[in-house]
């Protein structure tokens, strides 16, 4: 038995706008849960893994402040880091804003921006992805 409202498609109602109230929740509420991939099983060496800046195959380039690679000697850009950074140091820089070893603030920011742009297949990517696991 159907009342007058029971089988009326919602689309028939007045729809003056597609806006809806977006619930933002409280500051302390959480909106993101990350599913750990199989990679999580390999995390024993996360803190000692290394990230070269930049990838050795790209070491003829400088690193701009936004992390992009630019030709050597570009003003305002930084030369490649002489040694790869340890996962632990990168984590401290990404999470807590510490500067990477042997760098000043601007240089560290350029290098960490480069690291954030790492893609699958580039040196250091797996290390970087591992660092983003919750609780690591």
């Amino acid at each position: 038995m159907n009342g007058p409202d029971q089988d009326r498609p919602e689309e028939e109602g007045p729809a003056p706008t597609r806006r809806h109230l977006l619930m933002l929740g409280a500051v302390s509420a959480s909106a993101v849960v990350t599913i750990r991939p199989a990679l999580a099983n390999t995390l024993g060496s996360v803190l000692t893994c290394e990230i070269p800046v930049p990838d050795r195959s790209l070491s003829a380039n400088y690193i701009a402040s936004d992390g992009s690679l630019v030709p050597a000697d570009t003003p305002g850009a930084f030369p490649p880091a002489p040694m790869p950074f340890k996962g632990e140091d990168v984590k401290a820089a990404l999470r807590y804003g510490r500067t990477l070893p042997g760098t000043d603030y601007a240089q560290s920011r350029a290098y960490t921006n480069y690291i954030r742009r790492l893609q699958r297949g580039m040196s250091g990517f797996t290390c970087y992805a591992s660092l983003q696991m919750p609780q690591r």
């Binding site: 806006r19 809806h20 109230l21 977006l22 619930m23 933002l24 929740g25 409280a26 500051v27 302390s28 959480s30 909106a31 993101v32 849960v33 990350t34 599913i35 991939p37 990679l39 936004d66 999470r95 921006n113 954030r116 790492l118 893609q119 699958r120 992805a129 983003q132 919750p134």
Partner: protein, 93 residues
Amino acid sequence: MTGPLYRADPPTMRLAVEAEGLTLLYHRPSGMTHVLGPPAPELLTALAEGPADAAEIVRRLRQHHDLQDDAGIEAVVAARLDELEAAGLVSRA
């Protein structure tokens, strides 16, 4: 006064599926999958227009959504952005 600028990878770097009010999101660059509740997907959509601080993101959200009329709204948005940053979906520009 402007706060920190946030940026997100372009939408083409993500695969998203909506399910029961949540969004399952696969982030191609990291190969990781995330479960997002509101307003996280909306924040990523707002950032698709380009880097922005929390105040600008609130302005963008208001173009498409009604928001709680709350004086602390920017703080909530900033907290959600920090959470997305920790997940690797958002970074400081």
